[in-house]
């Protein structure tokens, strides 16, 4: 079965600073990888996804993520953070094999606080 680890529970950055949120996954085959964002009281919104091909993927709101198979990682980055980026971020892995078919497994989430 697949699993996802987000090592950082809470990250604080200053507005305008760069951001990197870490995500490590465990899955036996090529994974489908996602990043979602959740604002307070809201559902989750898809930021970006990786299925295959170019390992650097671009998403909405200026976010990007890089798939590194050798490190089993899919870290989310943004060059310059805006106050409106304050939210909780979830990494997820999807599977097409075995008992995990079709299910997305989510990490614990990273809460991002942005200081003015």
């Amino acid at each position: 079965a697949q699993s996802v680890t987000q090592p950082d529970i809470h990250i604080t950055v200053s507005e305008g600073a760069s951001l990197e949120l870490r995500c490590n996954y465990s899955y036996g085959a090529t994974p489908y990888l996602f990043w979602y964002v959740q604002s307070p009281g809201q559902g989750l919104q898809l930021l970006l996804k990786y299925f295959s091909g170019d390992t650097l993927v671009q998403g909405i709101k200026g976010f990007e993520a890089e798939f590194k198979r050798s490190q089993s990682s899919f870290n989310l980055r943004k060059p310059s953070v805006h106050w409106s980026d304050a939210a909780e971020y979830f990494c997820a892995v999807g599977a097409d094999g075995g008992t995990s078919y079709g299910k997305l497994t989510f990490g614990q989430g990273t809460i991002l606080t942005v200081h003015p």
Binding site: Y32, G43, L44, Y101, G102, K103, Q108
Partner: protein, 115 residues
Amino acid sequence: GAGVSQSPSNKVTEKGKDVELRCDPISGHTALYWYRQSLGQGLEFLIYFQGNSAPDKSGLPSDRFSAERTGGSVSTLTIQRTQQEDSAVYLCASSPRTGGNSPLHFGNGTRLTVT
């Protein structure tokens, strides 16, 4: 267009009562998921309806939890004899197709509080 709609948005119930949570997926979406989000626990998979195939119920935590999807559209998650540990946000999501590479579209959730 309309997104995934969940009702009620908030539910307070007494321990031991039954509750029903409703999800209206995006029209035409084949797959429907229920997740539970507890404080500091991330998203816990509960159940997955995959078109006409049998649902994957592997995430339901106990036999007090059940879900159905009528006519391939609306879904209801039922919790019987609620316990305080059932307090959480219950999120529904739908997807246009089954498969691990199909992004999910989430509703805003139902916040359940068991007193």
